[in-house]
Assembly symmetry: C2
């Protein structure tokens, strides 16, 4: 394909893409194909000779599209949103043009420098404490990873090495110290609450350290409290274990609960700055975007007591997947844990410490030019435009809740609308009935193909989650969903 053919093919693709978004509501939300649908449609091996562009492009419509679940469709209210936007799409085109592995500053200075600047912009816009800015007092800063899982694994590695180094700092170098380091490693425990996303447990599994959960309760709104944390820490210490890391969550996956940051801070305060300090990471992958609204800014303040924070702009901030923003209070801990300097990666700029080499802030060596899309989104929407988008998701969640409460004969709110997530159950006179009716409604709605919802089970309560953060959701979508919920539930109850 030469550049003229590229112009034509790519412009045809642009029309295709615009059409796809213009008609996004026409699709069944979840792909309606059977496992294994694609293999019979494709040859058994790659072609020997190149194929015509037309035949390749045509297969997008005929073979790929039927197998796509439409995350941008208004009926997509499952999981959390994974939103794109036109400015992000164009940014991706440029970022792929300036294709490279970009691991060092010199491999494309713009890639590194724009990232530092945009991460500072975003930290300010969210009202994150100054310690997370690249020029802040504690030498912190932000970096873009691919996913929250990667972010959490990365800070957990830094936390582990910090913990072990500090706990053995008093020992002279030598065998005894070495032994103590290995002994400590075998006792480490990473913590989350029962509501913490599975990525923390997975990170612990990857690193081969223990994982323990702090209990949460319905009474406390499923948030992790300082008291519950204190009890769990005592328990672990009594067993001779070494808790070194905690994920606190701003917007849990199940119900969008916010852990009690102040309480957690108080519990951990006696250890701060001493050996045995526990690294606290705040996972705000989805709901962190709500800090853009002034009313939520107070939530960011206590994060100054913690060590790191992540929010995924690819979730609720209109930035194409993947884009996970991570900030640390002291970048030195990341660099100490992750830096490796073989000769072929050395250069004068890095050697003289004039520049940031983000490869030392992450697990992979190579890096995509991810900041470009975040920059485009921040500029094309402006902070006000992004605030309007976030506010819309919140308002629509509240609207659904308001509708659901008008029918207490059919529905029970499980957790109130918060950050665009409402969870509810079908009414019933026993827990068992509520669970089975809710499961049945959930299955029926998803089978309809008009909406895609997910469910959760918290403390044996089965609840339906509805997330209203996808950018194409409108009040009429909410009304349509509510009508379908009512109609389906009434139908089910009649058959009982």
């Amino acid at each position: 394909m030469d550049s003229q053919q590229f112009r034509e093919a790519a412009k045809a693709a642009i029309d295709d893409i615009a059409k796809y978004y213009d008609n996004i509501s026409d699709h069944r939300v979840v792909a309606d194909v059977e496992p294994g649908y694609l293999r019979p449609l494709l040859p058994a091996s790659a072609p020997l000779e190149g194929e015509s562009w037309d035949s390749i492009q045509a297969d997008i419509q005929s073979k790929i599209l039927p197998g796509i679940t439409h995350w941008q469709a208004p009926g997509f209210m499952a999981f959390f949103p994974c939103s794109s936007s036109y400015p992000a799409a164009i940014a991706e085109m440029y970022s792929n043009t300036f294709n490279g592995a970009h691991f060092n500053w010199i491999c494309s200075p713009a890639v590194t420098e724009l990232e530092t600047i945009v991460m500072d912009w975003l930290a300010q816009a969210l009202g994150l404490p100054e310690c997370f800015l690249s020029g802040g007092p504690t030498h912190g800063g932000g970096v873009l990873h691919g996913s929250a899982s990667e972010a959490i694994l990365t800070v957990m590695v830094a936390a582990r090495d910090k913990y072990i180094n500090e706990a053995t700092a008093h020992l002279p170098e030598g065998e005894e110290k070495e032994e103590e380091m290995w002994r400590l490693r075998s006792k480490l425990v990473a913590l989350g609450s029962e509501g913490t996303h599975s990525s923390t447990k997975k990170a612990a599994q990857v690193l081969g350290v223990r994982f323990a959960t702090v209990p949460i309760s319905e009474k406390e709104g499923f948030t992790m409290t300082g008291e519950a944390l204190a009890t769990k820490l005592d328990e672990l210490k009594a067993k001779g274990l070494e808790p070194f890391y905690l994920t606190a969550t701003l917007g849990t996956t199940d119900v969008c609960a916010v852990d009690d940051f102040e309480g957690i801070s108080r519990t951990l305060a006696p250890r701060v700055g001493k050996p045995g300090e526990i690294w606290v990471h705040v996972d705000a992958a989805y709901a962190g975007a709500a800090l853009l609204l002034d009313e939520n800014k107070p939530l960011a303040k206590p994060i100054a007591n913690f060590h790191s924070f992540n929010l995924n702009p690819h979730k609720w901030m209109l930035t194409t997947f993947d884009c996970s923003a991570v900030w640390v209070r002291q970048r030195g801990h990341l660099i100490n844990a992750l830096s490796i300097k073989p000769h072929y990666l050395r250069n004068q700029y890095s050697d003289n410490e004039l520049v940031t080499d983000y490869r030392d802030w992450q697990i992979p060596l190579g890096r995509r030019f991810r900041s470009l899309k975040l920059w485009f989104v921040l500029r094309a929407y402006g902070i006000r435009g992004l605030q309007a988008h976030i506010q819309s998701g919140i308002t629509l969640g509240e609207s659904l809740e308001a509708k659901l409460v008008t029918r207490p004969d059919l529905f029970i709110i499980f957790t109130k609308a918060h950050f665009g997530l409402v969870t509810f159950r079908v009414s019933g006179d026993s827990e068992e009935k509520i669970n089975s009716r809710s499961q049945k409604l959930y299955d029926a709605i998803n089978a309809s193909g008009q909406f895609y919802l997910t469910s959760t089970v918290v403390k044996d309560h089965f609840a339906i989650r509805v997330c209203t953060g996808v950018a194409t959701v409108r009040e009429e979508t909410i009304q349509k969903l509510f009508d379908l919920l009512v109609e389906t539930t009434e139908g089910q109850l009649k058959l009982e």
Copy 2:
């Protein structure tokens, strides 16, 4: 930005992009900016109101482009290539359109199924042993990761868990077994050779296990031999350590050496299928693409004795970054080590084991639709087109070597052209002089801005690396580089 504005802006971007590639040779290869160049050019914070598209797009030219190092330019002969192509660029546009986190099959069946199929296509095209096919006898298969670093970390986790589980399988569940597992963990050693890419050492650092290197020698062409491995293993065992993992390399970063797969197999054979078996991963991140050529197919045969293999199509296979293809012989080891099933990720297809959920084959949860670009590239070029591309990189490396040997007064070949990489040094009557002259030449060439080369230091020999795999390199580029090398070296020698 509405869809009409998107059509216009995106099509203007397409023209921009095509122009960039048409004129790729006009740029200074390495960005000529000072550290910190960008911050004074941008506002201190994100705009409150959205900005016009024109002003955003204009900044690409005026502020970003000067900070770009042009990895697609013919003068880019540093590191290994990171190549893009028009078909891959269009695929990325579609893949961003079908934006989503795609962690489960149902989150977009096409994303999972195309990946399985395309990984089978590619395995066949490379001549990988049958055990790496998804339908092969050992239940293996391929998955796309972002980078070789991620691939290596992931298989190292699987290797660790396999090793520990097998070594403790004879013990009844309980405290004693638990203790033995922790004891083993503290003794684990991951291995590479002195030529193994730093990502293996970094993975060991991330997992908190020891890393040991097998020595290599100039006499053996810097390859890891079975004998050297045997000696190192004996040494580690004598210290009571537990070697559990080895990276063998097909095309080392320094000099593109290929480790002695047959010899390594022989050394490890007595442990195969027993507790204490060492997981061997083959890192073919760059040179693996050369297996597309029939003459290199025999190299793939002994890989049947190993456990996993990776090649990065984003390096030498015209597929936009990031795209790292990983195959394992037994997918169960990945899934056992990495699977986590919270309620919100469960669904009937996964629960009934009807489908592949690639999230259990990797560290992140979310996944990009990466297989689309690999599919487009395989189809648009065909195997023959890709073979021609690889052959060209190889031939051009040989061409440079042939030129260099015509001037033994100026140059010494350090390692012969292999897979498009040739390394050389400046002649001199002492090792010290050779090193200093080579370093001087290297600095001068990079300062010229016409070419970007990297260097390496192997066994205290400083050598200049020239990698000829970038798709835009032509015979005339090689001639131009050679002329510049001659002219610069002659000039330097005159001044001595």
